[in-house]
Point group: C2
Chain length 197, copies 2
């Protein structure tokens, strides 16, 4: 088998899973349905994934990997101000989810299925993401542009909360707005609350 062929099949199974789970929910989707959409036999799924839950976790890992790369690059940008970086992160968060509604449904709804899965995920990746935001906030404090009394991790959670709610609201609304169009006002509001007076 040619190199990469195997990887491609894994990807296409994940793609099928994203599509089906977004539309019918995790418990409303059978492994058979995913296999069918991916054009493989039921058993084949188990050559690539340990079990059904592993499929969900893998979706998260794949998406989060892509996301983290870009977020990291923003934070590491030399010479950029904290305010600029925060705007970029807000825009990144909303545009990545806004570009793929199925993925957004899974992130905002399906991953919260069980406290078990949520804990599993939140203990690792989300924690890293919050730390990333906190670093930007610290930079702002050091620069003197953000309030000196803000607690970086606490405030990072606030920032994340706002982004998360915007995404959930967008996912649940049927309207045809672009999620990314909320980046501007969200950034403004957040920065209004963060700036040193």
């Amino acid at each position: 088998m040619k190199t990469g062929r195997k990887e491609a099949k894994r990807e296409s199974i994940l793609d099928a899973a994203v599509l089906e789970i977004a539309r019918h929910g995790y418990y409303g989707t059978t492994v058979s349905t995913i296999a069918q959409r991916a054009g493989v036999a039921d058993g084949t799924i188990y050559l690539y994934f340990k079990n059904k839950e592993d499929l969900l976790v893998s979706i998260f890992e794949r998406a989060m990997g892509r996301f983290s790369d870009q977020a990291q690059r923003i934070v590491d940008e030399p010479g950029a101000t904290a305010e600029y970086k925060l705007r970029r992160i807000v825009a990144l968060h909303l545009s990545l989810l806004g570009e793929d509604r199925d993925l957004a449904v899974i992130f905002q709804v399906e991953f919260r299925h069980t406290i078990h899965i949520l804990e599993l995920l939140s203990r690792t990746r989300i924690r890293d993401y919050l730390a990333l935001i906190a670093r930007v906030l610290e930079q702002g404090k050091a620069e003197g542009t953000f309030r000196s009394d803000l607690d970086p991790l606490f405030t990072a959670k606030v920032v994340f909360g706002v982004l998360d709610e915007m995404a959930t609201d967008w996912v649940l609304s049927r309207k045809n707005t672009r999620l990314a169009s909320r980046a501007e006002p969200v950034s403004e509001l957040l920065l209004g609350g963060l700036r040193a007076s």
Copy 2:
């Protein structure tokens, strides 16, 4: 049968459901387990509830009913400033969830099970709650204490998002902090972003 006896049994089934679902998740809890904890037979559940999902919806309705009463009273308080009302709502939201961890788990995690349930609930009660917050924000604009350029509904979602994230974070953290203790800093941060300059 004495009056109220029936209502009491319904309540005790709901209590049992809250407890079991918070600990094992909606799909991890069987109707039998709930019946056992409530001290009734499996079939009895179906004398009080249409089916398993109805149990979940009823938990939401009961909790939300209690919550809305209090929130409404805050908003209707005559002579109170918008800033004061917002602080009260923040405190109410966090303290009600913080007082009952099982209920908080269900609100922050289990209700998000399926986009189907989430839509069902969000289209009704949550919408009303957001409208309530929006009214306070409008009042603040009229008073001149809040920024004149804020969009009430949009900003209400931001406020809700922050509260929601605080609650989820608290539910997932094992630490023994009181959720209500975050009310102060959350209010400060929000008001910092809302005040007219």
